[in-house]
């Protein structure tokens, strides 16, 4: 075909493969294979976001630790002095940090992802790649922070002498669920943000309300029984409950956990549908 034989490796189709360009059409299947073939781009965009985040800051990656630690300290002062949660089986700092670590990851990821397409306009309008890579990379870049605060949590657990149980092996499942939740909201908002820049203004309110409605710094059993069902409609309720139960060896609330799994996957489906639907017009609208 050519004198300088092009290398066989590459993201685009193989030499003998045909790219067909057609008008936008509703396709039922998401091109997972194509997404997978662009995994190196996903890796490099994630790596870029991580590298750039703490450039030219004096204390760098320490910020990733300070954010949850300082917030935990504040909550601990407020809730151990002024309002005590009698039902807690574990000391409050452990409870607060375990909740905050998941929450800050979701909060930061959704914020970063929702701005990701608009913030990468030059990429979207100049190069082809599965657009889903961009919000996904933004969500993945927060995982470093999550891992660092996880180290702090483990340190705190040792300090408080928490007995580890085999349940801790289930913890990654709840982290993965939180990641999926963050990706879902992130992709949804990133797509909407291309068309409606209102997202930029509405999102902080949404996140703030969500935070107060989630059992992050208070246990969900302070709520009256009849509210529990409504509370379980927030997928974070089940995720946080399950994460804490597996870390600290408590009992699982299978109702809220089941609800969280169903709701997160449903949300993921809706988000990818909306994203896919809007994707073809990103370059023209952004």
């Amino acid at each position: 075909m050519s004198i300088n034989q092009p290398s066989a490796a590459g993201n685009s189709p193989r030499p003998d493969e045909i790219t067909k360009i057609e008008p936008a059409k509703w396709r039922n299947v998401f091109a997972w294979r194509e997404f997978w073939s662009y995994r190196e781009l996903l890796y490099f965009l994630t790596w870029r976001d991580v590298k750039v985040r703490y450039r030219q800051t004096a204390i760098g990656v320490l910020w990733a630790i300070l954010q949850p630690v300082l917030t935990t300290a504040i909550f601990t002062i407020i809730f151990s002095r002024f309002a005590r949660f009698e039902s807690l089986q574990i000391s409050y700092p452990l409870f607060a940090l375990s909740g905050l670590l998941i929450w800050l990851y979701v909060n930061n990821s959704v914020t970063l992802a929702s701005n990701s397409l608009v913030g990468n306009t030059n990429l979207v309008t100049k190069i082809y790649f599965p657009r889903l890579i961009v919000p996904t990379a933004a969500t993945f870049s927060g995982l470093i922070d999550l891992a660092l605060s996880f180290v702090i949590l483990v340190g705190l657990m040792i300090y408080y002498g928490v007995n580890l149980t085999f349940q801790i092996l289930l913890a990654p499942l709840f982290v993965v669920l939180a990641i999926l939740l963050a990706i879902s909201f992130g992709t949804l908002f990133s797509a909407l943000n291309v068309r409606f820049r209102d997202v930029k203004f509405a999102l902080p309110f949404f996140l703030q309300i969500w935070m107060f409605l989630s059992p992050i710094f208070y246990p969900s059993d302070i709520l009256p029984e009849k509210w529990r069902v409504a509370f379980a409609l927030n997928p974070l309720t089940g995720i946080l409950q399950g994460f804490r139960a597996s870390m600290f060896g408590g009992s699982f609330d299978w109702f809220s956990i089941g609800a969280a799994v169903v709701l997160t996957f449903a949300l993921a489906g809706v988000s990818f549908f909306v994203f896919k639907r809007m994707e073809d017009d990103f370059a023209d609208l952004i």
């Binding site: 300088n4 290398s7 360009i21 008008p23 870029r48 030059n122 190069i127 790649f129």
Partner: protein, 416 residues
């Protein structure tokens, strides 16, 4: 010969202003049925029924004025945007280079940007690693490899960006106007690299305003105007035709009386056109030839001294110069009622290559100064320097800065 690119009846419509939905409910219902259904009103046909084929190893040039649809075509073929109708088939890996340095991050070092940009352009990490030394050497940035690119000079930045892109190894390379950047020596290097790529049997689609680059690199070309293919054939033929025609240029403008005609109680502008030296309307000019700007106007009341006045702007909206009728015949001579045609001749070998706009005014200086009208950007025209060797360019093929390009006399004498 296998057909590597096959484009059939490609069209693209842009809706300007966006959709106006009445309520959130309409938005939601409309979204489920068909996202972004737009009103029929403000639409722009960026591409209309474009069909062509490219064979394996061919280098196809695409020429056309701004807004002719070149970029839209490349964006569709690069899969950045979807066509409204029509199809295209591309066989093999496609690398597109619509901009140099897409995705460069200022905070990252040159080394880091090579990997990031390479991945964005579609290279595998192994491929980047294999070409790494060559990329660095080609860009001549060895010493600054670990410096954040925000500290690079614009020349270094461009060199690095092009160097990465030049090491892409797709079967089909789509290139838009990227040679219009960087310093002169590096541009030569880029052009020869492009030629190497085309000679190695890969297929290239190449858009440029630089007609000499098109004729040197491409064997075939198509010309676009208002979204349609208006010319196709060998690159030299298409370029020649492009330079001599006025495809899509507003080289001529008529005004409707009482509707949009610039006028005062004394004079009304009827028509303005750009002509070649023979008086034929023409929007694309060879830098060596003189260009006529012709205004037709009706004098409504006798007795005023009325002088046409043309202001020439380039694409960057730099006011190059103003010309007005200073001929002894009319400078101080009142005009009688009736229709007049005035032509100003801009000599050849004066302005640089590019696109130009003409404002047309009518002024009176004596006894008191009076501007009757000043119509902005009435007509436009292009000038191209075709690398014939007898212009101010000489044998130099790269980008030449400066808004003027006069051909001046030189004297050099041998001293000892």
């Amino acid at each position: 010969m296998t057909k590597v690119i096959k484009v059939e009846n490609l069209s693209k419509v842009y809706y300007l202003g966006g959709a106006k939905h009445n309520s959130l409910r309409d938005t939601l219902v409309g979204f489920v049925r068909k996202p972004y259904r737009k009103s029929k009103k403000d639409k722009l046909l960026a591409l209309q029924d474009v069909s062509f084929e490219v064979n394996d190893g061919e280098t196809l040039g695409i020429v056309g004025n701004n807004g002719a649809g070149k970029s839209t075509l490349l964006k569709i073929l690069s899969r950045i945007t979807k066509p409204t109708s029509g199809t295209a088939e591309l066989r093999g890996r496609v690398g597109s280079l619509l901009e140099v340095g897409t995705g460069f991050h200022n905070e990252l070092s040159g080394r880091e940007n090579i990997f990031l940009n390479g991945a964005i352009l579609g290279m595998q990490r192994a491929e980047i690693e294999r070409n790494f030394d060559e990329i660095v050497a080609f860009a001549e940035i060895e010493k600054f490899l670990d410096t954040p690119v925000k500290h690079y000079s614009s020349g270094m930045y461009m060199r690095l960006a092009f160097s990465i892109a030049a090491h892409l190894e797709p079967e089909i390379l789509i290139v838009d106007e990227v040679l219009a950047v960087g310093d002169v020596a590096f541009q030569k290097k880029c052009l020869s690299k492009m030629r190497d790529v085309s000679q190695s049997g890969r297929t290239i689609l190449f858009v440029s305003h630089d007609m000499s680059a098109i004729t040197r690199i491409c064997n075939r070309a198509i010309a676009l105007s208002d979204g349609k293919i208006v010319g196709a054939g060998s690159a030299t033929d298409v370029v020649r035709e492009y330079l001599s025609s006025s495809w899509g240029m507003t080289a001529e403008r008529f005004f409707e009386i009482g509707k949009n005609s610039p006028e005062s109680e004394f004079v009304r502008l009827e028509k303005v056109r750009i002509t070649d030296e023979n008086g034929a309307t023409c929007g694309s000019h060879d830098i060596r030839r003189k260009i006529g700007i012709e205004a037709t106007y009706e004098v409504l009341q006798s007795g005023k001294i009325l002088l046409p006045n043309f202001q020439i702007y380039n694409q960057g909206r730099v006011h190059l110069f103003t010309i007005q009728d200073v001929s002894n015949e009319w400078k101080r001579q009142p005009k009688d009622k009736g229709r007049y045609v005035s032509t100003a001749w801009i000599p050849g070998n004066l302005m640089a290559e590019g696109s130009f706009f003409v404002n047309v005014a009518m002024v009176t200086y004596l006894p008191i100064m009076n501007v009757h009208f000043n119509a902005l950007e009435v007509v436009s025209f292009d000038i191209a320097d075709s690398l014939t060797g007898d212009t101010a360019r000489g044998d130099y093929a790269g980008k030449m800065d400066g808004v003027m390009r006069p051909l001046v006399d030189w004297e050099t004498s041998f001293k000892w």
